[in-house]
Symmetry: C2
Subunit: 258 residues, 2 copies
Amino acid sequence: MAKPLILVTNDDGITAPGIQALISFASEIGDVFVVAPDSPQSGMGHAITINSTLHATKINTLDENGVKTAYSCSGTPADCVKIGLQELLDKKPDIVLSGINHGSNSSINVIYSGTMSAAIEAGIEGVPAIGFSLCDFTWKADFSQAKIFIQKIINQALENGIPNGVVLNVNIPKLSSDEIKGIKVCRQARANWKEKFDKRKSPMGKDYYWLTGEFDLLDNGEDTDEWALAEGYISVVPTQFDLTAHHAIQNINTWQLK
Amino acid sequence: MAKPLILVTNDDGITAPGIQALISFASEIGDVFVVAPDSPQSGMGHAITINSTLHATKINTLDENGVKTAYSCSGTPADCVKIGLQELLDKKPDIVLSGINHGSNSSINVIYSGTMSAAIEAGIEGVPAIGFSLCDFTWKADFSQAKIFIQKIINQALENGIPNGVVLNVNIPKLSSDEIKGIKVCRQARANWKEKFDKRKSPMGKDYYWLTGEFDLLDNGEDTDEWALAEGYISVVPTQFDLTAHHAIQNINTWQLK
């Protein structure tokens, strides 16, 4: 059987240790083709580049991992997937992998996540996709502990297929592989960020702000990604891009809109 | 009864005719407070500014519309809502309105939409919110035809309340008010964009790309926003930010993940 073709991208940029780890894990499973941002794109959500030009530069520094081809792209994670699928790859990949993100994309973070926007873009284009994130935002995070779990999830996705219209949001606790208790399929926990704007004055006397905040979990369910991670499990949330709140249609239909 | 406090934002920037129209329509309903991007942010998805500073500048040019306060913000639409709610407003608004966007945000466009990211951000923070878009991307689009419908939707949302965890994605066909057949509550149509990358060479001989594409509707349902718009109705899609594909959890639980 032919080896699967795997497109790898991320949002921390092509030089991040997290994508290097994912390339190395994926290379043991299939042929890896990389299209990743040339600079960090964290917090970019599902941004795409429509008002400026895109560049994609072929690079060769990743060949030691068994990578066939790697491109560094000037765009966002969603741009990387679009240009990878439509322009740079000769055939449709069997799966798109995004990450490993340096930091959590669990719960409401999925909305702001460049890592997950790449996976969602692939899903929209009909390609199975998984986003991986490690709950450790440091550059020197130890991705090796997650290897066997990540490879298991990729292999199972290739074997079983991911349902249409769904991509996987995988978050990994910051634990050694011995300490990780297993893998749980979860729902997205309800939460938001309590923003704090750090207001400062520029040397010219003009106010400016840094956005900071604290994560505020609003959900005590034992079926959520936050619960699984706190208990030492890897969380897998099947994530969709049909945003319709089907349960609310009946309610809004009672409004006087005639 | 006190007039409702209405926060207005958009993604085309504070100078766009679409937001000027929305400010004018909303001023007849409540007290309007504006925080909008200082430059166009189309296609920004749910991007937020975490690696650079944010500026918010008080401006007075909007006072003729009855606007109490307006700020021009250097950030994305989601940033505008965050800084508006947490830093610039003294109290929680009764509703957040985003738009009127110059161009459609129906179907899969919701994922890429800065207009809807502002509404979703408000929803995440527990404030009722509606994004409005007119299916006419030109700068000189005629927003006045939609006035009575937009005011009806705002008034009904204020009166009935929008269900928790839901924001409204309202799209308006490019028709006169006489031609508009009414308002339909819909689901998001399945669709994607068939990208075409327009590849060019720079004066320095380097390849670069412009992202273009064609909308590809994959859904014949008569309960979708695309169907409603094509038939001459305004579409209202209740939109959620819990992205969990609940129906897929059982399927993924059959995988060998132990």
